[in-house]
């Protein structure tokens, strides 16, 4: 049974899932920063690609960690995540729109698109998890 009579301030422990998502966001920002700092000149792509790869690995790690988390308020997680996904979809869509509109193409466009996709996956996971982790579940 869930004990709701005890004062409960939520999950106060530091979470590897949150750390992993913050790592992903920082990696994405560094990857995008390298390209943006060189616009309109050609950016050394290896730096951006390296940070994107790190972000992708961290994203996979986050998904695995969330799937393995028991007990977990999955319903609440998806309830929040789907709405956040919609918001980030608009935000990323606007970002992609201006970048394509301004004539960015080739490798920088591919890297920035991947960064936006990683944002699209990670921000909903972060916000959904931030809510679901405080939910008291049986056991």
């Amino acid at each position: 049974m869930v004990n709701t009579t005890q004062p409960y301030a939520g999950d106060t422990k530091s979470s590897p899932i949150i750390a992993s998502i913050i790592g992903t966001i920082i990696s994405c920002i560094l990857a995008a920063g390298i390209i943006i700092a060189h616009i309109p000149g050609p950016a050394p792509m290896w730096g951006s690609v390296m940070w994107v790869c790190i972000a992708a690995v961290l994203t996979i790690a986050t998904i695995i960690l969330i799937l393995r988390k028991k007990p977990f308020a999955g319903k609440l997680f998806f309830k929040v995540a789907k709405w956040v996904f919609l918001y980030i979809l608009v935000l990323s869509g606007m970002g992609e729109y201006v970048i394509v509109f301004d004539g960015t193409k080739g490798e920088p466009l591919v890297v920035i698109t991947i960064i936006l996709l990683l944002f699209l996956v990670n921000i909903p996971m972060l916000w959904g998890f931030s809510v679901a982790r405080h939910e008291r579940t049986p056991n």
Partner: protein, 200 residues
Amino acid sequence: MSEVAGNPTAASVSKSQAGSFVPIWGVVAALLVIVALIVIIASNWVFGLDFFHVFAGTLWISTDLFMGFIIGPIMSRLDIPARMVFAKKLMTTMMVVMPTVVICTLTAGWQLARVDNFFTAPYAPQHGWILAALIVVALLSILAYTFLEPANIVVLMELRKSEPNGLLIGRMMKRFLYTAGILGVLQLSIIVIMVRLATW
């Protein structure tokens, strides 16, 4: 029936009182604003870009400063039930206003920088200041996406329950207001950068 976890004095909010998560009128207004922004970007209308960037940016900065330095101290002095009622109204509105304001500021700002040739080769003399602005925006994004908004959503979700957890709401509101204060300070550096660029 269990007690209100964390704080027995916490106000009880019934499901019927909870209302919609985000006001529908707000979503419609936000969509209209975004459509207008898309049209302005497509036409590269400098006045429109300037207007969107300045208006949304000012709203963003003012909101952060107002939340961190005025609303925050006031809320910390309210009793828990009053704080919960106020937080519910405030957070619901913030869920619509802030994302829209962020989208408008960043997208219009980026396009404006392109139109104003701040991203030209060889690099414009203002290039360093543009980079500084982007670095501050990156910091703002990290703080907003990892601390501010999750705290906002936790409070909103909690307030929609029939028995909100006052202790959790208090903890999250504290985090929300402290983060808004830090963002406010960072926003002051954005003001310096933007004034420098505007008066170059």
